[in-house]
Point group: C2
Chain length 408, copies 2
């Protein structure tokens, strides 16, 4: 259905061009090196939807963007790395507002049309003068193929920029959906933040756009865990500028909406997997699939417990086919499992079945399979018919180094 | 009130003698080296109480001991390290039963008077022949001052045996309470298990004993976390043989009961702290105190989130006074915090107050304070009047080594 773009991380720039959008990433001096200020702008007013952190401690940019997006419309996104503008009180709110005003001036649009996100150190004032000086430079650098530079400007401990795109047809028109994301790893010395900005030239009503985004996030970014922590700044934004020219989608059951939903799901899943693969210190992308649960919620909870267990994550790092730790974390979560009917597969090898180990030879084969850079952990609970998938990474010495040796 | 015994880990043997009890730890060949089989016996029938794992996956010894302790009476505890007898189906149940029968034969008491616990590899059959050969040897080695050897025989990745004791007066008689414990660290290659056995010569009805044990566990072992995981085998047993000779305690509000409750609380807290200090790869004992919460449950949840956050634990390992990670994990847990009224102290140094950092000099002082081997993390949420304390340890390279390099 959707013509799939080349795989992460190097979609050629032409693939990620979304008609009517331009993007740029420039350096304004917030991080010690590299680009740190990003601008995305639409030539037309866009329907806009957002999903934000559910934390009780949120950054000023989250508060502002959350309020502005209620209108369902926006025209630009400004974001920086190097400073999260969190825990700064009234000054933080004023700085976030001023940052959107500076972006609006550079773009020639009203500030209320600008959404904002920040990621980086917590508890430090936003270097507003540098951002103000950087924004005209960013506006001048805007170009249709600038999305990779934008992805670079929001990187923190990420080791590669994350960019994905797909194309589909809606109402006879070619429609593009492209997105960027950053992890889900520690930032400067302080915060883990997940940011993702998604752009499409599809025409969609704001109400449907919101619904499509929530559904896509539920099975992608919300199924991703690196260290079990959410951040004060997690933000996913989706702009749809309608430049593809088809009649606006408004019925969730229409074939066009289903195509857009599929495209959105595909891009979000690809970016979520890229974030897990690039988790701090990660040596392996781990896909945890739990089936046979009593309910969908219990399936997801079991998968997340496995994905967040430091005992399981260190075992996967060491290539140890340790099904005992998997059963133990399921049990400790008080999740219903019927051991005689349950099973565990590691790297495609069955290591626990019918209530018992499948023996030392299977264990050795699983140990070899766990040396791969992409690993599947598949658990059947034997208790029901519900399933869930979660992505994560292993926990290595490098994770401890990244998070312990940032002494300040 | 309670005359306190010398501190962990080397209470002299005479301090831990509980009149009427004898203990032994011997080697029967379940682990690659060291003692691995333990026996504790009372000369008189004892009131007995137990608290067990709440996991949905439990070992056969837990099932058997849980059933036997309903009677409120027991005379002996047999326990082994090196094999947990978990996930072994009907064979596991039969083996746990046979282990208590062999202990009963060696002691000359009915098997129903024997409680059992096992810790070690999951999914392997219990080497019953070795245990049967070892039990007469253990029975012959029983002695009043044998509790330290018993503590050694249940060690797995523990680096030191854990033993604590206090004395108090009840009804004019000197009463001793002594206990041993093992961590809360990985066992052979497979399971984390917390075992603790507590002995007293106080005279107590089974109903009151159960109540006292639950209360003590709630504020000690249940406030301890190394890696956020419970095990299939967690077991705390308390025997009271009445040899002190005072009239049996039955009223929870009596002065004697309050003294025993205080003694029990003291021993359990001392052992819980010893377990945290000896967590796998731990370089620091961390005490997390949360105050100012809306409810006691929210205070405990906040403290446990901080104690289980791998971001906080790696920061403490690195000596990084990173209050941002603490606020972030509180927020991600959706715990109510009033930032302008909240505060964070690390190692006795205030690093966050009135909604803002206390500045770089305080940060430097906190960084120095975090080099200590015992650290307090104190957080005031500014949202209410409830408080909770939790003990944990930091997360080091050694933790990853212990848990990753047991390739099988």
């Amino acid at each position: 259905m959707a013509a799939r773009g080349p795989r992460y991380p190097y979609a050629p720039m032409t693939e990620s061009i979304v008609p009517g959008f331009r993007a740029a990433g420039v350096r304004c001096g917030l991080k010690t090196r590299g680009p740190d200020l990003m601008l995305i702008a639409s030539e037309a007013p866009s329907a806009a939807a957002g999903v934000f952190t559910r934390s009780t401690v949120v950054g000023a940019p989250v508060t502002l963007s959350r309020a502005r997006i209620r209108r369902g419309q926006a025209r630009a996104i400004v974001a920086n790395s190097g400073c999260s503008n969190v825990a700064m009180g009234a000054r933080g709110d004023a700085d976030a507002l001023a940052m959107t005003e500076a972006a609006a001036r550079a773009l020639g649009c009203p500030p209320t049309d600008v959404l904002v996100a920040s990621t980086g150190v917590i508890g430090q004032p936003l270097p507003l003068a540098r951002i103000r000086r950087g924004l005209p430079k960013a506006a001048a650098a805007l170009r249709p193929e600038g999305l990779l530079e934008a992805a670079q400007a929001i990187m923190t401990t990420d080791t590669v920029p994350k960019l994905a795109s797909v194309r589909t047809r809606i109402g006879g028109r070619l429609v593009t959906l492209a997105g960027i994301a950053k992890g889900s790893g520690m930032i400067e010395p302080n915060m883990a933040t997940m940011l993702s900005f998604l752009l499409t030239d599809a025409a969609v009503t704001p109400a449907l756009l919101r619904r499509l985004l929530r559904a896509a996030v539920a099975t992608s970014y919300n199924r991703l865990t690196v260290d079990g922590e959410g951040s004060t700044s997690d933000t996913v934004l989706l702009l749809a500028n309608g430049c593809a020219g088809h009649p606006p989608l408004q019925d969730a059951a229409s074939s066009g909406s289903l195509r857009l939903a599929a495209a959105l799901g595909e891009v979000c899943e690809e970016l979520a997997r890229a974030l897990a693969r690039d988790g701090e210190g990660a040596t392996k992308l781990v896909t945890v699939r739990v089936a046979g649960a009593r309910s969908a919620a219990e399936a997801e909870r079991a998968a997340k417990r496995i994905a967040n267990s430091v005992l399981v994550k260190t075992a996967l790092f060491g290539g140890d086919p340790n099904w005992g730790r998997i059963l133990q974390t399921i049990g400790a979560g008080r999740i219903v499992i019927d051991l005689p009917r349950a099973s565990v597969q590691l790297g495609g090898v069955s290591v626990f079945r019918s209530g018992a180990s499948t023996g030392p030879e299977a264990r050795r084969r699983a140990g070899r399979a766990l040396r791969a850079s992409e690993i599947d952990v598949v658990v059947h609970l034997g208790a029901g018919r519900h399933a869930a998938t979660v992505w994560t990474c292993d926990l290595s010495y490098e994770y401890v180094r990244v998070n312990a040796e940032y002494t300040t």
